[in-house]
Subunit: 355 residues, 2 copies
């Protein structure tokens, strides 16, 4: 089964499990504002999203469990809640009012504030406040996925440990990234460490949570870890490339955001390492400016091209791709062929994606 077919089969089930969580919250609230709050959260969660993390959790479980029972759906949504929680807080941090072409969660409540007769707060502060709490709620709803489901307490307790570890690593990755924005000199090694934490860890833990419920032996869990972290690294490198050189109509993201923010992408780090001193100095001056205009962005892109940064980054991604591929060939000895195909197909997709 290829990844698209797998997604087509399981995404409705994943979305339904998410919907049930929110419906039960909405129905149990007797306060109107709380009802609206959970309705907006439900809508935010169910609008778009590739569901990569629950799909990987389900595939890891099914790959090692010939029963392929549906028990895994319920806990699989845990890391999706964690992922969305971090997006809600990220959008506040990055001041992004839109996500996936739809209003960001905090922005929804900036708009909601207009409905009040009495406006003691500024709409923006109101949005930020509810956004902060919305992220918090989502982190805890992810935890709930392991508190009641069809597995025993011992397996759930282990899943909670993975969940907690995933949060710690993701949060460390985000912190390192925020710090990096203010740092001058950076190595590719620092960058890879950062994205392994920020993006790799949660993908890895999604796989390990699935494997945990299927009681997979440790040696195969270790292989799943390598596959997952590498997949995350490739995903983030390609994301950085698309973030400056993607087709805006295909990606749905403007190609000046990363550059203006001064984000330490793999493109920028490559260019800073590979350009000659004069060009490097020019790039530095452009990037250090907190208020870049469109011409500055175009000039930064030209310098990226001069350094052949996109191709160098793709070569780095290929290195992690080969590692993941090798790991996968070892995993295949033990995995169900249908899920082996899913893992392989996803790896190819992440490497070649244009969106």
């Amino acid at each position: 089964m290829n990844f698209a077919e797998y997604a087509k089969e399981y995404i409705p089930k994943i979305n339904n499990a998410i919907k049930i969580v929110y419906d039960s919250k909405i129905n149990s609230m007797d306060n109107n504002f709380l009802k609206d709050y959970y309705i907006e959260l439900r809508d935010y969660f169910l609008t778009g999203g590739k569901r990569i993390r629950p799909l990987l959790c389900i595939a890891a479980y099914n790959a090692f469990n010939s029963m392929k029972d549906g028990k895994i759906i319920q806990p699989s949504i845990g890391t999706e809640f964690l992922h969305n929680a971090s997006l809600i807080h990220d959008d506040i941090i990055d001041k992004d009012d839109f996500r996936r072409g739809k209003p960001a969660f905090h922005y929804r409540f900036k708009q909601y504030h207009q409905r009040y007769d009495l406006k003691k707060m500024v709409s923006e502060d109101f949005g930020t406040s509810i956004g902060i709490i919305g992220g918090d709620t989502s982190y805890f709803l992810g935890l709930e996925a392991f508190l009641s489901n069809d597995f025993n307490q011992d397996l759930n307790f282990k899943a909670i440990r993975y969940y907690e570890e995933a949060f710690n690593q993701l949060c460390q990755g985000v912190l390192i990234e925020v710090d990096m924005v203010n740092q001058k000199e950076l190595s590719m090694e620092d960058y890879i460490k950062m994205i392994a934490l920020k993006t790799g860890a949660l993908i890895e833990k999604s796989l390990l949570i699935g494997a945990n419920y299927a009681k997979v032996e440790q040696s195969y869990k270790n292989l799943l870890s390598i596959y997952g972290i590498n997949l995350g690294i490739i995903f983030q490198i390609i994301d950085d490339i698309l973030g400056s050189f993607g087709d805006e109509n295909t990606t749905g993201k403007p190609t000046d955001g990363d550059i203006k923010e001064g984000k330490k992408t793999c493109l920028l780090i490559t260019a800073m390492n590979d350009l000659d001193d004069q060009q490097k100095q020019k790039l530095n001056t452009l990037i250090e400016n907190p208020k870049m205009n469109d011409d500055d962005v175009a000039e930064v892109k030209r310098l990226f091209e001069e350094a052949d940064a996109a191709n160098t980054c793709k070569t780095i991604a290929w290195f992690y791709f080969k590692q993941a591929k090798n790991t996968l060939s070892k995993l295949k000895e033990k995995m169900a062929p249908s899920e082996a195909e899913v893992f392989e197909d996803l790896l190819n997709f992440v490497m070649q994606r244009k969106f």
Copy 2:
């Protein structure tokens, strides 16, 4: 043993357990920014704080466990992390740069930002960003208290459920409060529901987590719930009174904050219910103004006094005090006398406190 003696015995142990959590984080970090981040969190946690929640957790455990072993210290800090996590996020929401007379957590990183050569973000945004993540981290560190300690998995799993429930209720209380600020008409009933969630629930869950580890039977857990929620309600009512009529030198808090924010305190709700229509209209106009000056605040206080709001609120607090006292007399049949005294003394203190 009175509450002060109990606090004197256990606070150093509680603080030591908190310190160990952070020391282990700090020592395991190889990134300088992450090291600084955990150092600031440790310092924030260890600077002040009454430790009411862990003390109640410990007292509930010791009250029903003649062994009085120190095993409870480790998990008792869970709800203290949750409490501080919510304070970190609250200070961002309320734009309070100081807490307990010291810099708020986000404000520490606003200052930290000055150290960077390269300033791609505004200091304030940097502080807010790290503050949001700092709260998130603290929520998860609270969870860790139940993941490794000297109790069995079954008891820890139940503690996690209480922790999760405490978060949900606290967060609902905070949301209702944010919504209330923008609402015109409010009843005392709405207010009591809100503070029972915002302040009562975490105190209640701290007691239940302690009782859970001591394997207390359900009927006594129910009594602890009533005691805890009532204690929280009294605490919050007195907090509201001190927030406008306390001695700033004793409380360490300015007495114009609540009024300027338009916080729906029990004083305001009482005044709105008890004043005649003309005075009520005057109060309404003053409160609706998003930019109140000092004269407006003085006039609001005068109207509170005219409505005798502080005394009415104290009468309401007495109602909950008597309920808690009755519940305590039933609990005493089963509790160790030393902890019974602690519970009684704390109840009296919370009712009579001036700070």
